[in-house]
Amino acid sequence: MSEQEIAERIAKFPGADVEVLRKGQIAVKVPAEKGHDAAAYLKKMGFAHLVAVEYVDWIKENEFELVYNLFSYKMKMRAFLKVRIPRDKPEYITFMDLWPIAMTHEREAHEMMGIVFRKNPNLTPFILEDWKNLPPMRKDFDSRKYVKDKYDSIPFAEGGEQ
């Protein structure tokens, strides 16, 4: 099956905005409220594997984009299911019921981007420890400034040049 045929099949899902990116990669944009249904639809279609959950901070649009990176071993095809959620209220529903492994990916997205996934029971600190600042992957978190303020300002314990 070619990319076009698959894209047409996906496009049958109401509200789906399908785009063939390149060989073997299809992007599917759906409104946030339909994300879960679309994922279920894609899973049924054959995109049975959740490779990763990617998250992008589109600060200019004031939106977070969640990219569910799906793969079909049968069709040898990747589908990027994209949903956008508002930056002010970063909340979304978990996809754990479809793919249990989504728990770990969402845990990471929660920590790095501050997105809360409803019904995910395990949004505990994952990689960072005692992190009190803005979630680090957000565009408005300035790593260089943070380093300068936090680490570079510390004096050498035994004295000496900064």
Binding site: A48, L50, V51, N69, M103, I127, L128
Partner: protein, 367 residues
């Protein structure tokens, strides 16, 4: 509850790298496990947003230390896809050569790790010692032992030196010879069989459910491999069949690597044969390294690293550096959730052994 807390890691010989698993044990049976990653977190994804496109490989190769070439190549491929660059034929072969050599050295590390975790230090010494021959080749080819920074967007940095293929073949012969000795010492060792057979069985359905990839998935009988499913570099032209095991236990996982080790040797030989017959010189398309703008869009590229599918999702807003880059480390599935679930009910003695047999690479979880 009186289940005892035991910490495996971060400072523990029973752990791969800098990682921690807190297990609760009842007697010597694990009843609960909690993987604690993050000790190697460097924020690559953030750092990449502050680097140029071409500054990627020097940084990104540090994601998984024993298997650095796959990290570079994955990133390079994602950028190539985004920019629409095609690597020259010879470049593809050299890329595949480095990848397979990287796989070999990672598998040697794997043999050493699993051997060490069940107490066979001799195999650890042998395997790491033999790995040095591969590192020598790398040094000759790239100038570095560990972080080669060799595979850039557009192709490898330079062509192979004169006579390199012969030296590679020599090392392959040596490794093949050594593999027979490994068989005697290790893979046919009675105690090794006892320790690994029927331990921590991963069923195929479970592997599919939890998105386990790479050799771990193939050891359950699930024939998946990015090299076949989403071919890259020179792999479409190379002749190899996927190897699978059916049992899915620790033994199958180790034997999977052992068989793939042999396969990789064969692949390297195929590549060197081809490289000899190819005209030298054209290995790379060189874009403007310092001010290379890549059109808006996003791309994903995955490579089959020694641990499983290592993927890069790169987003560009048309600027000189990535707008967003995200890594899908292979260990994110089998290192955290799968490990936590699989270790429950196993013996304390197998906590480390399972960690090594799954080949968890902590930095690709932490990034």
């Amino acid at each position: 509850m009186k289940e005892v807390d035991l910490f495996f890691g971060p400072q523990h010989p029973g752990i791969t790298g800098n990682f921690s698993v807190r297990v609760k044990i009842d007697g010597d049976t694990v009843v609960k496990a909690q993987a604690i990653p993050g000790f190697l977190h460097r924020g690559f994804e953030k750092l990449m947003e502050m680097r140029h496109w071409m500054q990627g490989p020097p940084l990104i190769c540090r994601i998984c230390v024993p298997d650095a070439d796959h990290s570079e190549t994955g990133y390079s491929m994602a950028v190539e896809r985004l920019a629409g660059i095609e690597v020259p034929e010879r470049g593809k072969y050299i890329r595949a050569l480095t990848l397979e050599m990287s796989r070999l050295s990672a598998y040697l590390f794997y043999f050493a790790g699993y051997g060490g975790s069940i107490g066979l230090y001799t195999i650890a010494q042998w395997a790491i010692g033999d790995r040095d021959y591969l590192l020598d080749l790398y040094e000759e080819l790239t100038g570095a032992r560990v972080y080669h920074i060799f595979n850039f967007p557009g192709g490898p940095r330079w062509d192979t030196p004169e006579g390199f293929e012969d030296r590679v073949d020599k090392v392959m012969d040596y490794l093949e010879k050594r593999l027979k000795e490994y068989d005697k010492l290790y893979f046919n060792n009675m105690v090794f069989l006892k320790r690994s057979q029927d331990v921590a069985v991963m069923k195929k359905s479970y592997a599919e459910k939890m998105e386990v990839t790479g050799p771990n998935a193939r050891a359950t009988g699930w024939a998946i491999d990015v090299r076949k499913d989403d071919p890259y570099a020179a792999y479409p032209d190379l002749d190899f069949e996927l190897i699978t095991q059916d049992e899915g236990d620790s033994y199958a996982r180790v034997m999977q690597r052992r068989l793939e080790f042999q396969q990789s040797i064969d692949l390297v030989r195929q590549i060197t044969k081809k490289l000899r017959s190819m005209p030298r010189g054209n290995v790379r398309l060189i874009p403007n390294a310092l001010h290379w703008k890549i059109p808006r869009g996003e791309a994903y590229a995955a490579v089959e690293s020694s641990k499983g599918e290592l993927g890069y999702y790169v987003v560009s807003d048309g600027g000189i550096s990535p707008y967003r880059m995200q890594v899908r480390g292979p260990s994110i599935s089998h290192g955290v959730q799968v490990y936590e679930e699989m270790i429950v009910g196993q013996r304390l003695a197998d906590v480390a052994a399972l960690m090594f047999s799954l080949d968890v690479c902590p930095p690709d979880i932490d990034r």
